[in-house]
Symmetry: C2
Subunit: 489 residues, 2 copies
Amino acid sequence: MRTASSIVVFLLASAAILSVQVSADCGLFPSPGVINSTELFFTQYVDHFSWNTSTYQERYYVYENYFRPGGPIFFYTGNEADVEVFVNCTGLMWENAEAVGALLIFAEHRYFGKSLPCPGGFMECGNYLTTDQAMADYATLISALRKQYNESSATIVFGGSYGGMLSAWMRMRYPALVDGAIASSAPIGCLSPKYVKESYWAVVSNDATSFGGAAPQCSANVNQAFKDVFDYMTTETGREILASTFQLCGSLGPNDGEAFANFIQGAFDAMAMGNYPFSTYYISGTPSHPAPAWPMRVACDYMATNASTAIGRLTNLYNAISVIDNITQDVVCYNTSGLNPSVYSPIWDFMVCTEDIINEQPYFAATGWPNDMFWEQPVYNHSRMNEHCTKYFDKTPRYGVLNDELGVDNIPASSNIVFANGLLDPWHSGGILQNISESIIALIIPDGAHHLDLFFSTPQDTAAVRQVRASQLHYMKVWIAEAMQSRKK
Amino acid sequence: MRTASSIVVFLLASAAILSVQVSADCGLFPSPGVINSTELFFTQYVDHFSWNTSTYQERYYVYENYFRPGGPIFFYTGNEADVEVFVNCTGLMWENAEAVGALLIFAEHRYFGKSLPCPGGFMECGNYLTTDQAMADYATLISALRKQYNESSATIVFGGSYGGMLSAWMRMRYPALVDGAIASSAPIGCLSPKYVKESYWAVVSNDATSFGGAAPQCSANVNQAFKDVFDYMTTETGREILASTFQLCGSLGPNDGEAFANFIQGAFDAMAMGNYPFSTYYISGTPSHPAPAWPMRVACDYMATNASTAIGRLTNLYNAISVIDNITQDVVCYNTSGLNPSVYSPIWDFMVCTEDIINEQPYFAATGWPNDMFWEQPVYNHSRMNEHCTKYFDKTPRYGVLNDELGVDNIPASSNIVFANGLLDPWHSGGILQNISESIIALIIPDGAHHLDLFFSTPQDTAAVRQVRASQLHYMKVWIAEAMQSRKK
């Protein structure tokens, strides 16, 4: 029995964020993970870019049994979650380590899990939560690991989502420490408003059509249902019907329409990101009740046919979002007061409010039919962003700085990066979708969701993801051989 | 009338440092400089890598008259001095700007000149004196200048010595903001003890032979004179003779031998770095009395023949160092208490004591004849360095971090950098002396001293430096054309 406060919501007001809440136990099938690995801690400077000498303990996991003398280091550049998630879920590293004799390392991102720069918690010293600091942590750790294991080991970094951005950036920023990067679902293009050509919410909507293998009429019916929602919001009676149909814990006020619609939108967002071909609780965070395979298709089955009444459509819509929001079938009611975005993930929200890390606007605003199945939403421009960030954190983003440092225009000067993106994943809208050079490669999984390629193999995997993983292994071997060759000189 | 406290000493204990004290008025011939330019200030974050919001005013100079629409930005990445020096002395930028229609920008390094992060001075907030912070200043300024002048302007950075390291690093770190770098006398190899193959002091000694155009016997006679110094230091009478011969303000104690010899060694260091083919006060810092052309040759004329007595050799040695130390001929006496290295340049010494920026050991210890013309000096190892830095700054260096980030092993992954080195400049021992790729080029000036190529042209210039400057202009044009081409896409 639970309320909606524990469900997965991917919203920062009207805009999606990368953050995921995941189970620490990833696989449905027996697979290696935390239980096989050693938990260790490394002393890091809280601030790598001043001469303050405060330190903290960064957590990382090691698995040595595949490591052979001269073998490479496979290094996961942890992102915004407890690192155990990535130890347990990054099958691509586990499944290829033995073939190349790799040491497996999974490093935790500062401020997450057990890697806490301040004993007093995040708000006490959130000032040192920056991507540059996190990358300096990883560089320092890689340097120390090389000294410990093998000074000339090739090092390949892996990451997904924001972690995929970090892995690409580690190669761009520390080419002598990092020989190559597997950057999965890394929407680096989101840093530049000019780059993104396809709307995030248009991709979510595409998942709810035959493109995503879903019922063709789904997206149109969802769009009509949103219109119903806003119609019902205009009257007291309508709001009562909505609260009842959607099993809300409280009532809806006349100004709650946008927040309530955002709550529904978030479920479709989660199902698009998590539109995997196998049953998993990676996105839902409900280990005992995994989401079904192809959750968007399942949800769309409820929206496949035209309902004869608005209430019928709303009931169907409720059933559709329940595919991800009420997998356990034990939700008593949804707590709409939990829709405050800063309640969900204050740490990630802080990152957005400082580095503007995902640069969510203007392309993350849904604009409504026919562009997407949602409704026209207010643009989350700088002044609105500043207002939000000042309110919660007394900060405003440093717009554009991260793009100057590590945006798409910087990528061509680098090398040895594989960017993989699934076209069902809305984050591919900011992804690198075309080869940039002979060694900066874009791989596409047409029927793939959010960093599908990083997971353990399953019998349900499609041919496309199998090919991408084979290609990734090919590049890993090329990079290892190149590194060994250059070390000999 | 002056004492030695105002002369140029390049010593950190027994090891040389990059820092130079220079006149703000560079040219002997009328040449453009500060007088032609506009002094401006740009608001920068004191700390780019945390969310503290303190700011300071960074100084920069602008000269717009050569700038044509679509022209490039020539950007000097200021190093450890008042930026006026570089405005006045960087002839390479002034002389080529008109041909390509360039905007000229000279940016001051934080903590120097008027660019002071704290009103209370260096020691109040020296914690933010790092190369990463300085580079972030430059990146922020370049980004703003592009918005102000022309978003698609090619940007070429220039720098000499530590400023040359900064210019190369700006290309490596911010390839989308910096299209190419002229890195002159940039001893990036000094960051790695493994890289440097030629001893710094061996190069200084080479300058005092026929290789440097000096009297062939000079180095042997200097070496013998140092032996005399240490002989004389062993007796009270001997020390009195030394104090008298070298016109010291005070007397020498039995333990002052190393410091006194270091003082003499520093003069040869300065004459090797400043061994230019024209008369200039760039190294001596004495505008009304410039050092002679080829100062080492002039000094060596005093050491050309074998003196018949030790006192004769010591007198010759005194005359030799007076070529740089007493150009003005008005030194009453040398103040040996001014030999404390932290008195000379506390800010630069702080940088050495935090980032270990020049990584001066073990290759900067002279080892004596026949390796060099000096004497066997105690290795300045980590424990000695730590002791020194703890005493003066309560800090110890972060050994190796800068090399991991920006050392020679990182260079091959970059592009569009010209490294120029003069073989008379002792800093070339840590320089990039061979092409690394098709676009990372090493240019050599066999008869060139410290970043000779950056100066204004003079009639005394040798063919070698003229060729190097022509080659540098060629690469600038290539980079500008490439940038223009890539912006069109």
